[in-house]
Symmetry: C2
Subunit: 351 residues, 2 copies
């Protein structure tokens, strides 16, 4: 049996190329992946899929494209997977993750998993070979799609074994944004003033909760959330010093409100979790010189950040959210498990 490449190059379907020397793309950049799991590779794990957890920006786009009809989202998922061999939204460029049961473990990766394990992928669906036989149900509230189908996990792709003591859908919803809290833990120092944009959404709440854990009674957490019920729910957790109900895309309003709340100083750290374009400058203008702005949203534009900061002379560090951090799954599951109010909010909202 063939070993297969650890990055999954053996599943990339070559496209007509301009020249022979044009390099083969990695699975994430490939237009199409070979999703035929009758072909076996020693470095692969094959999974029977139960649920797709769609990336928030992608789900939102498909919902809009389907005129708000959840079944339409199921249809669009099936279409994309038939065309591309993966749930890689061609408009947003993003994917999500999946939940399933291990069906086959290649000889070269025996120590990674056992047949029958319930697992969740932590690599994006945009690089995961997938075949969808049937769409079972679409749940808009949690951006999840239940399906029947199979998927492939490459040797370099991270995944997590599902814990037994937590609701499965809750775990999946948490793991989807597992990268956020560990990055917050690395950056927040006691005494910091921290701003979270889109603070009432899934990753936003995790950022606030982790920031509070690192700050203890020191520092301040300022939160901006446009959706009133989300703002109220975040407020009720009691972890933020101030929850402002505002649209993060209103750059001037964000700038002026944060200036007012920090006596013109700006915040030390801003985490942007807003899944719509146009929030870059609000985040940048709210942050003091030599502060850091961390963008978790896929809708973030590099040019808007780079040219925007330059254009207003903002000397801040601009970071792209990395969905992976060593031990991030365990880290984030523990964060939610330890906080009863946070856990029950997530259970209510995402299960």
């Amino acid at each position: 049996m063939e070993l297969g490449d650890p990055l999954g190059l053996h599943r990339v379907v070559p496209e007509p190329r301009a020249s022979e020397t044009d390099p083969l793309p990695l699975p994430q950049r490939a237009t199409r992946l070979d999703n035929d799991t009758d072909k076996c590779f020693e470095s692969e794990i094959v999974v029977d899929v139960a649920t797709l957890n769609i990336d928030a920006a992608s789900f939102r786009q498909m919902e809009e494209a389907a005129g708000g009809d959840p079944d339409g989202v199921g249809r669009l998922v099936k279409e994309t997977v038939e065309k591309r061999g993966k749930q890689h939204n061609p408009v947003t460029g993003s994917g999500g993750m999946l939940l399933g049961k291990v069906k086959r473990v290649g000889d070269a990766v025996r120590d990674r998993s056992n047949v029958g394990d319930r697992i969740a992928t932590l690599a994006s669906l945009s690089l995961t070979p997938l075949r969808v036989t049937r769409v079972v149900a679409v749940r808009a509230a949690s951006a999840q799609v239940d399906i029947e189908g199979t998927a492939v996990i490459f040797a370099s792709a991270p995944f997590a074994k599902m814990p037994n003591n937590m609701n499965e859908r809750l775990v999946l919803a948490i793991l989807d944004v597992a990268g956020a809290a560990p990055q917050v833990a690395r950056l927040v120092k006691p005494g910091h003033t921290v701003l979270v944009l889109g603070a009432g959404g899934k990753s936003g709440i995790l950022c606030c909760a982790e920031a509070r854990r690192k700050l203890g009674k020191s520092g301040r957490i300022l939160a901006i959330e446009s959706h009133p019920p989300y703002a109220r729910e975040l407020n009720s957790l009691g972890i933020c010093d101030m929850v402002v109900e505002a649209d993060a895309r209103d750059v001037v309003a964000v700038r002026d409100r944060i200036a007012e709340l920090t006596q013109g100083e700006g915040v030390d750290l801003t985490f942007s979790c807003v899944n719509t374009p146009g929030c870059e400058m609000g985040a940048i203008l709210a942050t003091k010189d030599r502060g850091k702005v961390y963008f978790f949203a896929m809708s973030t534009s590099v040019t808007a950040c780079a040219l925007g900061a330059e254009g207003v002379g903002a000397d801040v560090d601009l970071l792209i959210g990395n969905g992976f951090a060593e031990g991030h799954a365990e880290h984030t599951l523990a964060l939610v498990r330890e906080d009863n109010r946070l856990r029950s909010l997530f259970e209510r909202r995402y299960t």
Copy 2:
């Protein structure tokens, strides 16, 4: 006389909006700016423009769109400015900077400049109100376009007074990428192994030179450059430990070559200065866990970075190049002035 907003909101031409409460975009995001300098504002500086220094990605795109004809670039610039009131390339989203002579200084910004000063803007052209009366000449080698016209500098927009002891075109070419070297100086520590992608271009060379200044005799600088003459010229400066002639978009080749050169460890820091899409994963795969990858190119994709790093379990920090850093103009001009070989290479290539 009206003061005008420090960010230039008063020059944004409102577009038809979906709702009354939709916020006004900042000048960088605006479709069109009011470039009428007969209107006076106290916070503005008005400049007689001599030369536009077009962003590399933008110039390349316009050159291709014009079928390689330099005069076509001039035509496209004029078209864009007529439509948008600014040289904001609608395809790449990027701009550049300009050189000119101060024509009028608003009362509120008297201390920023004097009439007659020769200055270069450090804010992007994508947010600078501009009117082009005539295109005088296009110089493809330096991505510059000489014009007759006027521009507006907002109160928050950085600019630099031109030094007297250096060639003007050289200064402009350096200032265009003035943000690179100061960011390198902040991140490189003695002993680091540093990788620069697109190392033979303008910002790439500055990254290598600054890294060498910080490393002294310690550490290593590995450089990747696809254009053979650029690779040779970089090599001749004697600041890199290894200049590899390769295409940074060939992710697998970059991964394998750097693994070989670092005994599988990867580098501490990678600076990507390649102005074409598809280099994100090469940079990420070449970097060791907890290392940093700094993306200077406008062609960088947030989703390619975030999902790509996640998909291969790469625990690296991902930074977006900020074109501004406190004192960056002076910093980078000094770097070139102090190194005779670097200075003459830049003079040869960009003047």
